[in-house]
Symmetry: C2
Subunit: 387 residues, 2 copies
């Protein structure tokens, strides 16, 4: 198996862009290609993550469409879908194809266009990540799933509503200085706990906003990557696992096994433990999710995650900065673009070029999660040696 690096990165801002997935894909991929010294002819394959363009835009077969549109005709171009983890999976497949020697240079991208959809079609499309025959029939939504999870977590570990709200406060603060973020204003703990009820105990400001967006990276075998850029980012480990597909399938709602097993696999490949990670972008689709994720990824003991956030330990200047980009809660969640959007932010950190730079960051982790904990990808990245 070969080692693999990220040579180029490109993204759109996340927000209300009035653009479809084709346009978002063309922009993100073109920017990633231009960001390094790669020629179109060098690219061997393209993987594209997308979740709901079929339902919302009537646009499928997006991978060949984007490939053909940016001058990459004649290579395999494949869409991967795994709900909110769609582009974490696209990245993973691209990575494996180089690691195993099938390809040398591969583009991985993620796209989603959501903000033009009406509320009803939007809700139905997002809900398609749940098992329609079980959770769908009960009417349980994703805010509902994470509301259940938070209820259980607070009951089990005595976390307070205010501690949980600290996640949104931190991430919204981080979003202020990130020009790629949809929300760039702060909120207080009071704002969060007094905001409109969505799925008790979750309130409006506990929930991430939808967004349009595209993000892309150019991956290359180490050796080749160094010819394409002065600052290659090494992929040190990658994990991808499927967990339980619905709430009723869990023994313990406060642990999402897809994340714990994907993390184990990524750490083991990288030869590191959670204590070695310097900066994290994780899947905070809800404030409650960030707390659970931070424990599932091994950063805090079970039941300690809420306290850690409230004490500022995960702030940009804390012992383990989590979501310095603003995360899904502030940057926004263009579902199919989120996974590679997180990797984009980590690359910027490891190249010491981030608006909320974490000092001395050498190892970063990106965590993408889809469905009711149904699927997760974890990627461990290492900075260029000469930074």
């Amino acid at each position: 198996m070969r080692s693999v690096s990220i040579a180029g990165t490109g993204t759109t801002a996340f927000g209300e862009l009035d653009a479809g997935v084709k346009e978002l894909g063309i922009k993100a991929v073109s920017r990633a290609l231009r960001s390094c010294d790669v020629r179109r002819d060098d690219v061997d394959a393209l993987y594209l993550g997308n979740f709901v363009a079929g339902a919302l835009e009537g646009q499928e077969a997006i991978a060949p469409l984007v490939a053909d549109s940016v001058g990459l005709t004649g290579i395999p171009a494949t869409k991967t879908e795994g709900a909110c983890a769609s582009s974490g999976i696209a990245f993973r497949e691209a990575y494996q194809s180089i690691r195993t020697g099938v390809h040398d240079v591969v583009v991985a991208t993620g796209v989603e266009s959501m903000t033009n959809a009406g509320t009803a079609e939007f809700t139905r499309a997002l809900g398609s990540a749940a098992d329609q025959g079980t959770e769908g029939e009960t009417g349980l939504t994703f805010p509902g799933f994470y509301g259940l999870l938070l209820d259980r977590y607070m009951h089990e570990y005595g976390a307070t509503r205010e501690q949980v709200a600290a996640v949104s406060v931190k991430n919204r603060r981080n979003g202020v200085s990130n020009p790629r973020a949809r929300f760039r204003s702060e909120v207080t703990v009071e704002d969060v706990v007094e905001s409109r009820r969505v799925a008790d105990p979750l309130r409006l400001y506990d929930c991430c906003p939808a967004a349009d967006g595209g993000a892309a990276v150019v991956l290359a075998a180490s050796g080749i990557a160094e010819e394409l850029t002065d600052a290659p980012i090494q992929v040190l480990g990658s994990g991808h696992t499927t967990g339980r597909s619905a709430a009723y399938r869990y023994d313990d709602l406060t642990t999402l096994e897809a994340t714990t097993t994907a993390a184990e696999s990524a750490y083991s490949q990288a030869g590191i433990g959670p204590e070695d990670v310097d900066v994290v972008e994780l899947h905070d689709c809800f404030s409650a999710a960030e707390i659970g994720d931070s424990e599932d990824l091994g950063f805090f003991e079970k039941g300690e995650g809420a306290k850690a956030v409230a004490e500022g330990r995960t702030a940009v200047d804390g012992e383990l900065p989590i979501n310095p980009s603003g995360g899904l809660l502030a940057k926004g969640h263009p579902v199919g673009a989120t996974g590679i959007g997180q990797i984009y932010e980590i690359c910027k950190q490891l190249r010491r070029d981030h608006e909320n730079q974490v000092e001395g960051a050498e190892i970063g982790l990106a965590h993408n999660l889809g469905g009711s904990g149904a699927v997760s990808t974890v990627t461990v990245l290492g900075g260029p040696s000469d930074v």
Copy 2:
């Protein structure tokens, strides 16, 4: 790179099944697992092809859902989408993951549920394979695309309407004895050319029917496959390429480059040429498509395909039997299931167990095509040595 074999196969019939993708996936995968001596614990990953369950059923994240439902929780489970080639791609990804040593045993499956949809939503969902910003805006449908292609072909090569109709006559005849086929009655050349006009010069019986269906295979590294079955089918070659994404992007509408390049790649890997193939399942979404495909795959000279069919050279007892299963035209086209459905039929041929058995078949080819020639997979399979 290791060699890879198919150890197990499973399928539903293709037709009006009143079942959703979850149920179809569970059936197909369970049957494939039961067809060989594999244990659930041996399976390292699952790839699932699907096209329109998001739009028609509101069901995405199907790969983890099916994996978790059949007792395969905790492994990577990934959905691939490439319009009508969705499960050809799932097969390809599964194959590559074993060939490269990432996994030892992988399930590849394809599912689609279509017949419960209303005409308007059905048409919109199928049309999502086209570039909405160009072809979609013009109102060109897939029957329209293939109508244009046939018009050009007849103009260019002097093929007659009756020669083209012979494709439907042959495939409907083959479908009569295939219990997995949706249509099991014959049609005549007159029936075809006098049937209702759909997209001139294409008539109703030139068009494949929608269907519900699921198909699955268990792939394993050669060496392991022999422990799971007495009759492993070897994957000799696999190609996957992206072509032009819309009609206006073609220099020559009678050649779909996605097919020609995927075929070159599969033949070259297998170390064979088209003349070595004994039996073929190719993507006859329309009668016209079979003729073009048979030339793009190198079986006939440009312009000779229509004549060859009319002369019976592609019948079950002809020199190169094409679509002895009945093809998409008779068996039906549950879009995301079609690619692995074709591979299922070829395995049955190479195991000398097919209802329309091609005598002495040792090498078979399956060809899956998506969009306006946007993406193609070609798989070359070899029979068990002891048959």
